[in-house]
Symmetry: C2
Subunit: 230 residues, 2 copies
DNA sequence: ACCTGAACACCGTTCAAGT
DNA sequence: ACCTGAACACCGTTCAAGT
């Protein structure tokens, strides 16, 4: 095990790639959650001083930005054999899964996706599909916003749920039924809800509405053309 | 100004109510943002040691939980003269506005609404409206989840946008058009998008779809009964 | 260019002690 | 019950110095 002939130069001068450090950071996130990621802990895990990390990243902020770029799935090429809404659904779920499987990363997604260039590629892909669906420019932009917001909510809520599992077995079942008659009577259904299915339910809901906006089917009272009711 | 006859007992023994401390905490959030709220800063603002705050709240976590309870709007009474979807839209927007106007509070909303009893009241109110709309139990639960996730995403994204205004005048306009042909051509529309309108667009989209699920209008290919497509 | 070590200005939380 | 003061175990970041 302790052979001679070191492949790396000897002495206290290990070198890392940014990617190795990001891997280690993701490991910390997976083990200790979003609050567990600190430069000092990352440094000690790779056997270096906290100061040394500033040779690789300008700041903790820059490291977090790089983490988001790394976790965000790259959009697949457009597939002419699949409908726009099927491709859209698949890709949105892929992003969802990526950030939900990387537990501590959801907070980073929430904090920095607006300025992320990986997220720009996501926007480009989704917009392309929405335009392909036949949506007008304003509709496509608004629909992109709707999908982004819904996706963000799914990721944030599910990540929080995993990081902080039910304090009681079932909070809802224990609520006073006088104050919460409906919620209380739904306690079992509420506890049984499955995250993956719930996420898909809302996504399907939004996509269906968008298909009607796109004119793919009749949609008697679309909210789109009606304007805001006051 | 410096009169005698103090109304509070003299000496270094000021007392606060929890509410006064929460007010002060909200002020700090408004001034310094979510990262600016610390027990030490709150303590110094009210002229006390950080340790003293532990006489009012068990921990910073407990203080944050109390902040969420305080910011969350209380559901209004049911109004038989207004449709379920109008009441639902109005209330969801009220929550949205409450957390977006209280800038640093969005992160707290994201982190703790799952365990918030104020949020339980929100759930009870929304579920009541959804049941009143005629949704089945599973549909009502799923719809509640969809609305919660969408609302969460709206609050998180908008709060982040306010806390961290566009780094450039318009990030999107400056993207390489070879890589971002669609997004680039939408740069103006993208920059002009208005948060309030965008939020309402998606909410109307979801509500419209729910109205069809509820059987209020024909909805040829509802995602609900179809099951998951694979 | 990469790294150490010490320091600075912060955190939340706890202990021991005062009134 | 409420509060102080000191301490503990952390943070991100920076300075000065080494190779």
């Amino acid at each position: 095990m302790s052979s001679q002939a070191p492949r790396t130069p000897p002495g206290p001068r290990p070198r890392f790639s940014q990617d190795e450090l990001l891997d280690e950071a993701l490991t910390i996130l997976a083990i200790d959650g979003p609050d567990g990621l600190s430069l000092r802990r990352l440094a000690s895990r790779v056997g270096v001083t906290a100061r040394a990390l500033y040779c690789y990243f300008d700041s903790k902020d820059a490291l977090e930005a790089a983490l988001v770029e790394r976790v965000m799935p790259v959009p697949p090429p457009l597939d002419p054999d699949r409908s726009w809404h099927e491709q859209l659904r698949t890709y949105v779920m892929r992003i969802h899964d990526a950030f939900v499987d990387q537990p501590g990363a959801a907070r980073l997604f929430a904090a920095r996706s607006a300025r992320s260039t990986a997220m720009d590629h996501v926007r480009e892909y989704l917009l392309t599909l929405l335009v392909q669906a036949g949506l007008s420019h304003p509709d496509a932009i608004a629909a992109l916003g709707t999908l982004s917001r819904y996706l963000m909510g799914c990721v944030v809520i599910e990540a929080e749920r995993r990081a902080n599992p039910d304090p009681d077995i079932n909070r809802i079942a224990v609520l006073p039924s006088a104050e919460f008659p409906v919620l209380g009577s739904f306690a079992d259904e509420y506890a049984a809800r499955n995250s993956e299915e719930s996420t898909r339910y809302g996504l399907d809901l939004i996509v269906s509405a968008l298909r009607h906006v796109a004119g793919e089917a009749t949609y008697p009272d679309s909210p789109i053309k009606r304007g805001r009711r006051s």
